[in-house]
Homo-oligomer: 244 residues x 4
C-alpha cells in the first residue's frame, strides 16, 4: 500500500470485522485497501469469482501473494487422518494452484507482465517430525512454483517463492509458538502473548510483516533482467533451517 | 523373490492376465509371488482391505514398496485442470500416505521392524516445465517420507526414498520416451519399441528393474546401525538431474 | 553509490586506467568512488593492508561485496593440474575467507553491524562437466558463508550469498559466452560482442550490474528482523540451474 | 576383503604398528590386506608414488575409497587461521582430487571400468557454526565428485559420494564425541570410551565400519545400468542432518 498499490485483502470468513481493522490501518496511513471476505481459496469457483470481482471492482492484478499455510499443528504420523492430510494439501498446494492459474491466465492475456509470490515455509524444504502433512503440502507448493517459474517467466510473469524460516508476529505462528513455549510453565500468566511479542519485536528477534513486505516489494520491483525465484527470511538471532 | 521373500504384486486393474505373466516368471525362477488385482491405492478402504488380505493370506509384511507415479505427461501449466492436479496428488502423495500408514502401523505393533521404500522421481527434486502437477505430487511424497524417517526410524521402521533419475525398461517410462523420440520421425517404423529397449539394454543405457531390485534389497538388508534414507539410480551413460 | 555509500573499487592490477573509467562514471552520476589497485585478495597481507587503508582513508566498512570468481574455463577433469585446482580455490574460497574475516572482525569490534555479500555462481550448487575446480571452489565458498551466517548473525553481521545464475554484462561472463557461441561460426564477424550485449540488454535477457546492485542494496537495507541468507538472480528468459 | 578384493590400507604415518593390527584381523578372517604407510594424500608426488606402487605390487585398482576428512574441531570463524583453513582444504578437497585423478586416469586407460567412492560428511551439505573450514572443504569435495560423475561415468568410471551423517566407531569421530559429551561430567571416569562404544554398538546406535563396508560393496557391485551417485548412512536412532 505504501508503494501505491491498492491492496486487496482476502479471507475465508465473511465476518467484516476481521478485515476492517487492517483496512482502516492502511487507509489511515494514506494507502488504499479493499476487503474481500467469504472466499475459500481451496474452491475453484470461489477463486474464479474472487479474481473476477477484484479485477472488475479494483483493477487488473499486477501482484498476487498466496499466503495460506498448511500448518495444522504437529501430529504423529499415525495420527494423521486421510481427511487432515487432504486438508493440508488443499490449503498448501491446491489453493496455490487455483489462485496462481486464475491470476496468471489473465496476466498473460494482458501481456504486460505481473508478479506471483508464494509464501513458503521451512516445511517446504524438509519433512520434520510431526509434519508429514504440512511438509507434503508445502514441498508440493514449492515444486509447483518452480514449474511455473520455468514456464511463465518467458511469458513475462515473475513467479517467486519466499521462505519465511522463522516465527512471524501473528497469532498463527508466534501465537502457537508462545502457547507451546509456556505450556508446562505454571507461571505462564507471568508473560502474556502480547508481552512476548513486544519483547521480541523490541529486539528484532521475530519476523515482522513490514519486513516481509519490503522484500516482497523488492521482488515486485525487480527488472526483468534480474529476477529472483527464491529467497529466505529470518531474524538475525535465528539459525537457518539447515543449521544444527 | 530371489532373496526368499514372497512377492505380493498389486494392481488396480482386476484383470488377472495383467499380473499372471510376472507371477509365472517369478515362480519359474524358483520364487514365490501372489497377485492382488483390483486394489486402488488412492482409496483408503482399498488400502486397508489389501493390507489385511496380504497379512492374512501371505504373512506379515516386512518390506513394502510404493511404486505408483504421478506422471500424467507434460502439460502447460494453464492446461492443467484442478481434476488432473488432484489426480497427480492422489497417485503421488495420498496413495503413498495411505499405504505407508497402514503398513507401518502393523509393523510398529509387531515390534520387529520393517522397511518401507518409496520410489521417487526426478520431479520430486525440482519442478520442471510442464510438470507442475507431477512435481507437486512427487516433491510432496519425498517430504512426507522425510517426516516418516524421522518419526518411525526410532520405532524400528526403515523408511527410504529412491530416486530413479532415468528411463526404466517399462511401457510407462521407456515406452513414453520412445514414443516422443520418434514422434516426428517418418521412419518411425524402422525402430520398434522392442528393438529400442533391446538396444539400450545391451549397452546398459537404461535402468533395468533387476538393478533397482538389487538396490532395494540392499536397503532391506542394511543393519539398523547404518540406514540409508535416500539414494539415486541412473545408467552410466546419463547425467544426473542436477547436471546441465 | 546512488544510495549514498562511498564505493571502494578493488582490483589486483595496479594499472589506474582499469578502475578510473568506472570511478569517473560514478562521480559523474553524483556518487563517490575510490579506486584501490594492486591488491590480491588471495594474499593475506594484501587483504589486511587493503582493509586497513580503506578504513583509514575512507571510513568504516559497512558493506563488503566479494565478487571474485573461480571460473577458469571448462576443463576435462584429467586435464586439471593441481596448480589450477589450487588457483580456483584461492580465488573462490580462500580470498573470500580472508576478506570476510578481516572485515567482519572490525565490524564486530565496532558493534554496529554490517553486511557481507558473497556473489555466488551456479557452480556453487552443482558440479557440472568440466567444472571440477570451479565447482569445488564455489561450493566451498557457499558452505563457508552458511557457517558465517550462523555464527556472525547474532553478532549483528548480515552474511548473504547471492547466486547469479546467468550471464552478466561483463567481458568475464558475457564475453566468454559470446566467444563460445560464435566459435564455429564463419560469420562471426557479423555480430560483435558489443552488438551481442546491446541486443541482449534491449530484450533484458542478460543480467545487468544495475539489477544486481538493486538486490544487493535491498539486502543491505533489510531490517535485522528479516534477513535473507540466499537469493538467486537470472533474466526472465532463462531457466534456473535446476531446470532441464 | 570378504568379497575377495585385496585391501590396500594407506596411512600418512610410517609406523607399521598402526596398520598391522588391521591387516592381521583381515588376514585372520581369510582376507588379503597390504599396508602402505608413509603416504601423504595431500602431496601430489606421494599420491603418484602410492598409486604406482599399489598397481605394481598388488594389481590394478578396481575400487578406490577416499576417506580422509577435514574435521579439525569446532572453531569460531574469527579463530580460524589461513593456515588451518588451507589444511582443511588440502585434506578434504585437494587430496581427494589428487587421488581420484591418479586412479581414474589409470582406470580409463585400462578401459575396464572402476569405482571411486568419496566418504562425505554432514558438513558437505551445510555449513554449521564453528565449521567454516570443514564445511568449505567437504562441500568442495562433494561438488568435485558431482563433476567427476558427469564426466567419468560415460567412460565407465563409477564415482559415488556417501554421506556418513552420524558418529562412527572410531577414535576420530566417536572418540571426539565421547570426549565432548562427558567434558563437564565430574563422573566422567564412570563411563570409559570403550564402554561408551560398546553400549552404542549393542543398541546399534552408532555407525559401524562393517555397515559402511556393506554399502560401499553394494555400490561397487551395481551394474552399469543403475549406478548410485549419492547415498546417506546413519543409525536408526538418529535424525538426518536436515531434521530439527
Amino acid at each position: 500500500a505504501a508503494g501505491g498499490l491498492t491492496v486487496c485483502l482476502v479471507r475465508r470468513s465473511v465476518d467484516p470485522n476481521e478485515l476492517q481493522p487492517l483496512v482502516d490501518e492502511i487507509v489511515a496511513n494514506g494507502g488504499k485497501a479493499v476487503p474481500f471476505g467469504g472466499f475459500d481459496a481451496t474452491k475453484e469457483d470461489d477463486v474464479k469469482k474472487l479474481v473476477e470481482r477484484v479485477e472488475n471492482e479494483v483493477g487488473p492484478i499486477s501482484c498476487c501473494v498466496y499466503n495460506i499455510g498448511a500448518q495444522v499443528g504437529n501430529r504423529p504420523f499415525l495420527k494423521i487422518s486421510a481427511r487432515l492430510f487432504e486438508l493440508c494439501w488443499r490449503m498448501g498446494s491446491m489453493g496455490a494452484f487455483l489462485v496462481a492459474k486464475e491470476v496468471s491466465k489473465r496476466m498473460i492475456d494482458r501481456g504486460d507482465g505481473g508478479t506471483i509470490i508464494f509464501t513458503g515455509a521451512t516445511a517446504g524444504f524438509r519433512g520434520n517430525s510431526g509434519q508429514a502433512g504440512h511438509a507434503m503440502a508445502m514441498a508440493g507448493r514449492r515444486a509447483m512454483a518452480q514449474s511455473m517459474f520455468h514456464e511463465l517467466g518467458p511469458k513475462g510473469i515473475h513467479v517467486a517463492h519466499v521462505l519465511i524460516d522463522a516465527m512471524i508476529v501473528s497469532p498463527d505462528t508466534a501465537g502457537k509458538f508462545w502457547d507451546k513455549l509456556f505450556k508446562d510453565d505454571s507461571s505462564r500468566s507471568s508473560i502474556s502473548y502480547k508481552d512476548f511479542v513486544a519483547k521480541r519485536t523490541a529486539t528484532e528477534s521475530i519476523v515482522l510483516p513490514s519486513g516481509i513486505a519490503e522484500s516482497y516489494w523488492h521482488l515486485y520491483q525487480q527488472p526483468r533482467s534480474s529476477w529472483t525465484f527464491e529467497m529466505d527470511l529470518r531474524p538475525w538471532t535465528d539459525k537457518a533451517w539447515f543449521h544444527a
